[in-house]
Symmetry: D2
Subunit: 133 residues, 4 copies
């Protein structure tokens, strides 16, 4: 298992009229943690894209357990637990201090610059192998 | 079953560097269709909130099948298929012409102004009954 | 002078914890009106981009006079008053019924696919001429 | 003069189909720097709101000089140069390494919980005095 963590503060822009963070605002937080995980694997997503590989989201699930407010400090964990085959699956947790706010999962296709599905590139699989996946 | 439809055009603000709509941009589109469904039931969400009821999202799933681009005209369908008990479940489809872009589901709690879970209000159940649910 | 109008409803996603639309949410509304103006000129922005021309915003100003809330119906006017030289300037008004919510201005460069500034293309100037500009 | 700085990385969510950060994405970055400035003054904005004061944006200007891309590391400076009277004015700069990407200004009203304009509260003026304003 490979796990990364990133931190963020709830922006006013991310809140809604209920006084809490809008549920759609969580999606970019997941992205931040995913980007960090790729960084920690030595495979910055920007570099992956420059090499012609993209990881579009094909499935997304988010369970919202507790809300958060403007200026709350959040910790977002992203985890990859399985060696990917055609698709890459990540799991996430969003915490605010002791409170678990949300659990989420994303599934990603691997595509080339023209959007065609391809196998996960060797350098990606090799990086996962180095962390035991 | 009760179904509503709404239309939207992909805003440039909703696209990302992959040249397509960002996956997080779909979440407000679901919201638009949900708001329309409540309108069509004669229960505008703004009125529900004024009466002290809110429907925060507690679970969200979205399957992305095909991408869409700036200025694409989308049709978003929202559907309620079951009489809600504690929670309200909706299903969605996002279409672009003949293409099915995404299927999604949201589950909502019913809470009062202080955020406490409450039973769906009578006027909400009555409105659903009028459409056979 | 060439003027276009478009309509939108305030999304819950566009509100913030003050209970009104977030000031940053107005920016995509300006974009919608600008896109409509180009449509009305017979020059859809998507087509302009396909022909290799882009209109990045280089200056933006927005005066906020009154706030608006979730579900408010807005009317957004975009106006072009001068034949563009190197840059294209648009003026906007956002209304909610009788209320003027905001006035705004954007200035756009004209660039090619590689981001280099270019003169406004002939077909663009010709379209403006047809409406007396 | 009082100046604060904050850092952020461009999110994929903040990019658009031109391959760069969407111009509207800059608005929350200004907000982040403004929130930091209030923190540095010892007046977290959340606390101000809890005490019944809000600082809605009434005027916004942003000059875009250079674009930035996904994953770029940005530094955002916020500056207050004048003792506020009825309104509070801030100036901003967004940098990416050596490059100045944008300059911006916001003007804020001071309002109470009911949205009525009020004079800047004493604790706010006192905090500014402590930094020589």
């Amino acid at each position: 298992m490979m796990e990364s963590r990133t931190e963020t503060r709830v922006r006013y822009a991310e809140t809604d009229a209920m006084g809490v963070a809008y549920h759609g605002s969580y999606i970019p937080w997941l992205e931040m943690a995913r980007v960090q995980l790729l960084d920690d694997l030595g495979l910055p997503y920007r570099k992956m894209e420059e090499r012609g590989f993209h990881l579009p989201v094909v499935d997304l699930r988010c369970e919202y357990r507790q809300s958060c407010r403007f200026d709350d400090r959040l910790e977002v964990l992203a985890r990859i637990t399985e060696r990917p085959r055609a698709r890459v699956t990540l799991a996430y947790e969003i915490h605010c201090g002791e409170r678990l706010l949300a659990r989420a999962w994303t599934v990603h296709a691997v595509v080339d610059d023209s959007g065609r599905p391809v196998r996960p590139p060797e350098f990606f699989l090799a990086a996962l192998e180095r962390v035991g996946l």
